[in-house]
Symmetry: C2
Subunit: 261 residues, 2 copies
DNA sequence: GGATGCGTTCCACTGACCGGAACACCGCTC
DNA sequence: GAGCGGTGTTCCGGTCAGTGGAACGCATCC
């Protein structure tokens, strides 16, 4: 029966999912920020796959340099993944245009400068300039719920309502006690952001850290990214820094449109 | 027969190679710096795989967000690849220690600052600071034959002889007319580099571009990376910039050792 | 010694994957 | 408007790549 076939196929797809690609991603997904090197056993546990299977897959991945094995036999993500990642267009094309402008902003404000894009209901940091001594909880490739951060809110504010709706429906988890967690508060804040053309983030994503962000538009005025500067909460004067960020974001928007992006 | 089975298996492995993973990588490998968006047909040609196969694999990859499809139906590398790539330890751990030092070097010299590691017989740029108006042919994630660039030579100079041998055996392709292409010349240059503790690159990797590089050592004095500054050939004074790069590289080496890397 | 952890190899079974065939849809040209 | 070369898509039977239990060797630890 075709319908039953489809159903079983769909079942397998939705829960568990046993294709080769899934297994590969389960293995690669076992690594995260804090766990960069893993033995076979731990890899199995995290991937939820039998030992033999992981052993074989990991072996193939090493052969392809997607994984490497160190002297102690531990697996780690390999250089080739980094190389492929650097080719991703949203990162590469955006960065090439944005970096000079971000550097100017960095020099002018002496703050940490962030460029982020919306991916689904989260924000992903595409480029960050300026090392910090204190931990501000942001890193290139990092993913944070859009409502809980300055760049995220400013992108949401200029996104289609369907996007905002998706974020609301997925819930508003709190990263700090000051994160916006209610629908009404978020909607009100987004309205305010649209009216002043920038967003503020006072310890909403990370305690002790404040942030000012402005929207970056691309081809046909569609929101493309968010530009922000971040620093310890005491050092951030929105009245002073706001115009700097807004100007830089505006310049970037122009540059993107000139480049046809 | 077991032996024949093994042979055919090995044959398939060595030439062509028809495992799922290989097909996936053939598809992902179809994208490069200049070709960021591809239709199905072109994807097939580049991957060397039949239409149906690519269609199915690409579909699965899109589902997993390793690829994305734009409005016109073209495929492009997806954000998830960037996210995974940013987790690669050689990049992440090295960068986190190196970036503050690289920023200081950047401010002091106002040149483009490069951090690169050796991967096999090539050099891969791990981190780059300082946008340039002119094209210097380097980008994060970029891969260049080790003998043909400043950072590459300085890493080779402090690598085990087996590594140098591997590079020699793989040949010394020329990137510009000034690239070192003979074994004797390279060996002599490496000796000179070891004696002065830094390497020079006068238009060897890119015409009009010069470069000064110094070695970065990690745990137990093993060579880990190369640090370099780059600029238009006229603006580069080795006598002035050399010490700056060497000092920064030395500071970085210390920092790495302190971090246990 | 035996118990528990690791990583590795072997190999028979099977269903996930393959890809040819045939499809629908352009925008051409004649 | 028929014919053509180019896209992208769906269908489906055959088969071999991929699976994973079992059994291995080797460390620790008690």
């Amino acid at each position: 029966m075709r319908s039953t076939d489809r159903n079983t196929a769909r079942d397998a797809r939705e829960l568990g999912n046993r294709t080769v690609l899934h297994r590969i991603l389960a293995v690669l997904g076992a690594f995260d920020t804090s766990t960069t090197r893993l033995g076979l056993a731990e890899l199995c546990r995290r991937a939820g796959l039998p030992k033999t299977t992981v052993h074989r897959i990991a072996g193939e991945l090493v052969e392809e340099r997607l994984l490497v094995r160190d002297e102690q036999g531990l697996y780690a993500l390999g250089m080739r993944l980094f190389e492929i990642g650097e080719l991703v267009p949203v990162h590469r094309t955006l960065s090439s245009v944005a970096l000079p402008i971000m550097e100017d902003l960095r020099e002018a404000t002496r703050k940490r400068v962030h460029l982020a894009v919306l991916d689904g209901i989260d924000v992903v940091y595409v480029e960050i300039l300026g090392a910090t001594s204190i931990d501000v909880g942001s890193r290139p490739g990092g993913r944070i719920p859009a409502h809980a951060t300055g760049v995220g809110k400013v992108i949401l504010a200029y996104s289609p309502t369907a996007t905002i709706q998706a974020r609301l429906e997925a819930g508003l988890p709190a990263l700090t006690p000051r994160t916006i967690t209610t629908k009404d508060a978020l909607v009100a804040d987004l309205r305010k952001i649209r009216s002043i053309g920038m967003s503020l983030d006072l310890e909403e994503s990370h305690l002790g850290v404040s942030c000012v962000a402005a929207p970056v538009f691309g081809f046909n005025k569609r929101i493309r990214a968010g530009l922000s500067i971040t620093g310890p909460i005491g050092s951030m004067d929105p009245g002073l820094l706001g115009p700097a960020v807004r100007t830089a974001a505006f310049t970037l928007s122009r540059a993107l449109r000139d480049a046809g992006l």
